[in-house]
C-alpha cells in the first residue's frame, strides 16, 4: 500500500510540468478544451475561496497584529490610537494573569503529551488485537471526542461541584472544615480540568493511533514473530517505528489542542485564578462593552508568535523532506 502511493505521487507531480513545457499544440488544445463556462466555473471555484481566505484569514490576522500596537474601544475607526509597544509592556509587566496564562498553556501541552497520548496509544494497541466487543470499547472511548468541549466542561463541572458534585459527595468533603474546592482553588483547578481534557484527548489519540496501526503491514508482525520476538519487543522495535507519521500528526494535534484550549475552561470556571489561559485573556479583553481591542490583540499576537515558534520548525522539516522525496 505504502509503496503504491510513493510511486504514484512523483508521477502525478511530474506530468503537468512536462506537458505544459512540451509545445504550443498542447496549449491550444487546452484552450479548446475549456469553454468559457468552464473558465468561469474554474475562476469562481478558485477565486471565491481565495477571496474568502484572504479576507477572513490574512486580512484579519494582519489587522489583529496592527491593532496590537494601538488602543481602541471598538467605537468608530477614528478612536484607534497608535501606542507602539505600550500594550506589550503592560502585558509583560503589569498584567498579573499573563505569565500564569503562558505557564498554563505550556502545562496543558506537557500533560496532554505525557498522559492521555500514551494512554491512547495503549488503548489503540489493545483494540487492534481484535478482541471481542472491540467496536463497543472503541465507541465508548471515542465518545468524549464527539461531544463538544462545552458539554464536557458542563459534565465535569457536575462531577467537581464543591457542594453537590459527585467527588465531594462521595468522599464527604462538602462540609465546612473539610472543603475541597476543585473549581476555585488555584492549586487544584487546573489539574481538575486537565483530567477532563485528558479524558477527551485519550479517545482522540486512540483513534489516530488505531488508524495508524491498521496501516502496519501484517507481514512485519509475522516476520518478527518468526524471529521469536515477544509482544513488547515487537511493539518497541517493529510496530512503534512504523508509526512515525502518526506520531507526527499526534504531536501537531496536541500542540494545537494546547494552544487553543479555551471552551472547556471557559465553561468550567471562566479562567479564574489558577486556570488562566491566553485564549481566555484574549476573549475577556475583546468581547464585551467598551472593550480593549488593542490590548486583547496584543495577547493574540503573543499567542500567534508562540504558535509560529512551534509550527515553523515542523513545516520546515516537512517541506525539506518533501523536496528530498
Amino acid at each position: 500500500m505504502t509503496t503504491d502511493t510513493s510511486t504514484k505521487s512523483p508521477e502525478a507531480a511530474a506530468v503537468p510540468p512536462s506537458g505544459a513545457a512540451s509545445d504550443k499544440r498542447v496549449q491550444t488544445g487546452h484552450k479548446r478544451l475549456l469553454t468559457r463556462r468552464d473558465r468561469l466555473t474554474l475562476g469562481l471555484m478558485a477565486g471565491l475561496p481565495t477571496i474568502l481566505h484572504v479576507a477572513l484569514v490574512w486580512v484579519t490576522a494582519l489587522a489583529s497584529i496592527a491593532l496590537a500596537f494601538t488602543t481602541w474601544d471598538g467605537i468608530g475607526f477614528d478612536a484607534i490610537k497608535w501606542v507602539g509597544l505600550e500594550n506589550f509592556k503592560q502585558l509583560f509587566n503589569d498584567n498579573p494573569q499573563f505569565w500564569p496564562a503562558v505557564q498554563h498553556n505550556v502545562i496543558w501541552f506537557v500533560v496532554l503529551i505525557l498522559i492521555p497520548t500514551p494512554l491512547g496509544l495503549f488503548l489503540a494497541v489493545q483494540l487492534d488485537k481484535k478482541i471481542r466487543f472491540s467496536r463497543v470499547y472503541q465507541t465508548a472511548f471515542f465518545l468524549p471526542v464527539v461531544l463538544s468541549m462545552a458539554v464536557i466542561g458542563f459534565v465535569w463541572q457536575l462531577v467537581y461541584n464543591p457542594d453537590t458534585g459527585l467527588i465531594n459527595s462521595l468522599i464527604g468533603a462538602n462540609e465546612p472544615g473539610k472543603y475541597i474546592d476543585w473549581i476555585g482553588d488555584p492549586d487544584l483547578n487546573l489539574w481538575a480540568i486537565l483530567i477532563a481534557a485528558s479524558w477527551r484527548h485519550a479517545g482522540y489519540m486512540m483513534i489516530l493511533y488505531l488508524a495508524g496501526l491498521k496501516g502496519v503491514d501484517p507481514a512485519l508482525r509475522e516476520a518478527s514473530a518468526l524471529d521469536g520476538a515477544g509482544e513488547w519487543q515487537t511493539f518497541k522495535n517493529v510496530i512503534f517505528p512504523t508509526l512515525r507519521p502518526t506520531n507526527t500528526i499526534v504531536l501537531v494535534v496536541t500542540i494545537i489542542e494546547a494552544l487553543r484550549a479555551f471552551d472547556l475552561v471557559f465553561v468550567f470556571n471562566k479562567g479564574a485564578e489558577g486556570t488562566e489561559l491566553l485564549s481566555i485573556l484574549v476573549t475577556n479583553n475583546i468581547i464585551g462593552e467598551s472593550s480593549r481591542i488593542g490590548y486583547g490583540s496584543a495577547i493574540a499576537v503573543v499567542l500567534l508568535v508562540i504558535s509560529l515558534v512551534v509550527i515553523i520548525p515542523y513545516l520546515v522539516a516537512t517541506f525539506r523532506k518533501e523536496r528530498r522525496a
Binding site: 505504502t2 509503496t3 484569514v57 484579519t60 490576522a61 494582519l62 489587522a63 489583529s64 497584529i65 491593532l67 488602543t71 471598538g74 467605537i75 475607526f77 505600550e86 503589569d94 498579573p96 494573569q97 464543591p162 457542594d163 465546612p176 472544615g177 472543603y179 474546592d181 473549581i183 476555585g184 482553588d185 512515525r244 507519521p245 502518526t246 507526527t248 500528526i249 501537531v252 494545537i256 494552544l259 487553543r260 470556571n269 471562566k270 479564574a272 485564578e273 485564549s279 484574549v282 475577556n284 475583546i286 468581547i287 464585551g288 462593552e289 467598551s290 472593550s291 480593549r292 481591542i293 486583547g296 499567542l303 500567534l304 504558535s307 509550527i311 515542523y314 513545516l315 516537512t318 522525496a325
Partner: protein
C-alpha cells in the same frame, strides 16, 4: 520516507488553518465588529406607526412583562412596538457594535456609568423633552441616575432593586438573633452563628461579580458615597489608605464567609440560605428567585448592611436600575419619545411589577398597594436613601471591573494577606485602562 506524502501533504494545511483560525478569530472580533453591526437593528421601521425596541429581556418572565407593557401602550397610543429580543448576555457583549450599526429606536440598558459611557460617545440621543413630561414621577436620586456627564437626560428608569443582607426570619427567631445595625454587632452575630454551627455569611463568587457587591457595601459604609464614586470613576487611588481600610474590614469578616466561594455559583450559595445552613447572604433581591417554595419565600427578609462609620451611617443603598435609552438616530423619533414617556409613567411600571415580584418600581408614583412585604421594604429602603449606587460594574468602566477587579477580588477572597501587592497591581492597571480613550 514512504510516508511523507500522506502525512506531509495533509498536515500543513489543517495545522496552519487551525492556528490562524485562533488568531484570525481574534482579529475578526477586533476588525470585524463594525461589519457585524449590520446584523443588529430592525431596519424596517420608517413606518410612523411603528417603534422598534432592542431588548435584552430574553428570560420568559420579563419578556412577557414587557410584551404586556407594549400591548397597553398600543391601546393608548395606536403605535405598534416591534421588539427585537436578544439573549441577555449576548446583548451586553454586542452592545458596542449594535449601537454603532443600525440600532432599534429604543433599547434596554442600565443606569450609571454604563449609560453615561454611551451617551458621551454620542451613541444615544438626549431625552430632556421626555423628562419634561415624566419628571414628577421620579425621586431626585433617580433623576441623578438618568443624566449623562453633560447634565442632559439620556435614560428612563423602569425598575430597581436593592442589595442587602438577606436572612430567614424563622432562623433569627429560633436562635434569638437580632438584626445588627453596627459593625461590631455584625461581627458579634457572625461569631455567634459560627458557634451555632451555621455558616454566618453564604458566599458564592464563581461568576466573579458577587464579590464586587461586597466591596461596594464595605467601601461606601466605611469611606462614604463621595469617595466610592471617585474610586469607581478612576479618580481616587486604589492604594489610598481608605481603600486599604475597607479591605482590612473585609478581611475581618472573611473568615465568616462560606468556604470555597470561588468555586460556588450564587445560586448554590442562595440554596445554603434557603436550606437554613447559612445565616445571612449579601445579594440583590433577585436572591428570591432561588426560594421557589412559597412558605420559604415568606420567611425571607433582609436588612441594610450595618453602619461602619457613623458619619455615613446607612445613607447609601446599592440599587441597580434598569430602563431604556434612545439610540443615536431613531427612525421614528416622535413615536419613540411617546413610548419613552409611557415607559416613564407609573402605569407601565405597575404592569411590569405584576409579573416580576423581585424588583420595585423606579417611580415614586407607582401604586405600591400590591407590593409584597419584601417589595415594600425594598421600596422604602431605596426611597429613603440619600445616595444610590448602581453596582461596581455599572458604576465603573466595565473593562476595568471585568479584567482587573473581578480576578483581583477572587484572589483577595482566597488570600487576604497579599492585599498590598494586589492593590498596587490594581492601581497600575487602572491607570492604563482609564488613561486610554
Amino acid at each position: 520516507m514512504h510516508h511523507t506524502s500522506p502525512s506531509g501533504l495533509s498536515l500543513p494545511s489543517p495545522s496552519r488553518r487551525t492556528l490562524l483560525r485562533g488568531v484570525g478569530g481574534a482579529a475578526v472580533l477586533g476588525a470585524g465588529i463594525p461589519l457585524l453591526s449590520a446584523c443588529g437593528g430592525g431596519g424596517t421601521a420608517s413606518d410612523p406607526k411603528t417603534v422598534t425596541v432592542g431588548s435584552n429581556a430574553s428570560d420568559a418572565v420579563p419578556k412577557k412583562a414587557f410584551a404586556d407593557i407594549y400591548a397597553a401602550f398600543k391601546k393608548e397610543s395606536g403605535l405598534t412596538v416591534d421588539v427585537n429580543t436578544k439573549d441577555h448576555n449576548t446583548f451586553q457583549e454586542q452592545i458596542n457594535s449594535y449601537l454603532q450599526g443600525t440600532p432599534d429606536d429604543v433599547f434596554n440598558w442600565f443606569a450609571g456609568y454604563r449609560m453615561q459611557f454611551f451617551a458621551a460617545k454620542g451613541l444615544a440621543t438626549p431625552i430632556d423633552d421626555v423628562w419634561k413630561t415624566i419628571e414628577g414621577n421620579f425621586p431626585d436620586a433617580m433623576k441623578g441616575l438618568s443624566k449623562g456627564e453633560d447634565g442632559k437626560y439620556y435614560f428612563v428608569p423602569l425598575y430597581t432593586y436593592p442589595w442587602a443582607l438577606f436572612y430567614r426570619k424563622s432562623v433569627f427567631q429560633e436562635k434569638g438573633y437580632e438584626v445588627p445595625t453596627t459593625w461590631d454587632d455584625f461581627v458579634a452575630l457572625c461569631k455567634q452563628m459560627q458557634k451555632d454551627k451555621l455558616v454566618p455569611i453564604a458566599f458564592g463568587d464563581k461568576d466573579a461579580w458577587p464579590a464586587l457587591g461586597t466591596f461596594d457595601q464595605i467601601n461606601f459604609r466605611a469611606n462614604g458615597y463621595d469617595f466610592h464614586v471617585e474610586l469607581m470613576a478612576g479618580k481616587a487611588s486604589w492604594t489610598d489608605a481608605k481603600v486599604r481600610k475597607a479591605f482590612d474590614l473585609w478581611a475581618e469578616i472573611l473568615p465568616y464567609h462560606q468556604e470555597g466561594a470561588t468555586g460556588r455559583t450564587w445560586q448554590d450559595a442562595a440554596q445554603t440560605l434557603a436550606s437554613k445552613k447559612a445565616g445571612m447572604y449579601l445579594l440583590g433581591t433577585f436572591v428570591g428567585q432561588q426560594f421557589t417554595n412559597e412558605a420559604d419565600r415568606e420567611d425571607l427578609d433582609f436588612f441594610a448592611f450595618p453602619e461602619i462609620d457613623p458619619a455615613y451611617g446607612q445613607d447609601t443603598v446599592e440599587a441597580p436600575t434598569d430602563g431604556f435609552m434612545l439610540s443615536k438616530a431613531p427612525k421614528n423619533k416622535a413615536g419613540a419619545v411617546q413610548l419613552l414617556e409611557y415607559l416613564g409613567s407609573p402605569a407601565a411600571e405597575e404592569i411590569y411589577l405584576k409579573s416580576d415580584p423581585n424588583v420595585v418600581a423606579a417611580s415614586t408614583k407607582a401604586d405600591t398597594s400590591a407590593y409584597s412585604p419584601l417589595q415594600k421594604k425594598a421600596y422604602e429602603m431605596i426611597s429613603g436613601a440619600k445616595s444610590l449606587t448602581q453596582f461596581m460594574d455599572r458604576d465603573s468602566r466595565p473593562d476595568f471591573t471585568s479584567t482587573v477587579m473581578q480576578p483581583a477580588l477572587q484572589k483577595f477572597i482566597r488570600d487576604p494577606k497579599g492585599i498590598d501587592s494586589l492593590l498596587s497591581s490594581i492601581e497600575r492597571q487602572k491607570k492604563t485602562i482609564f488613561a486610554s480613550s
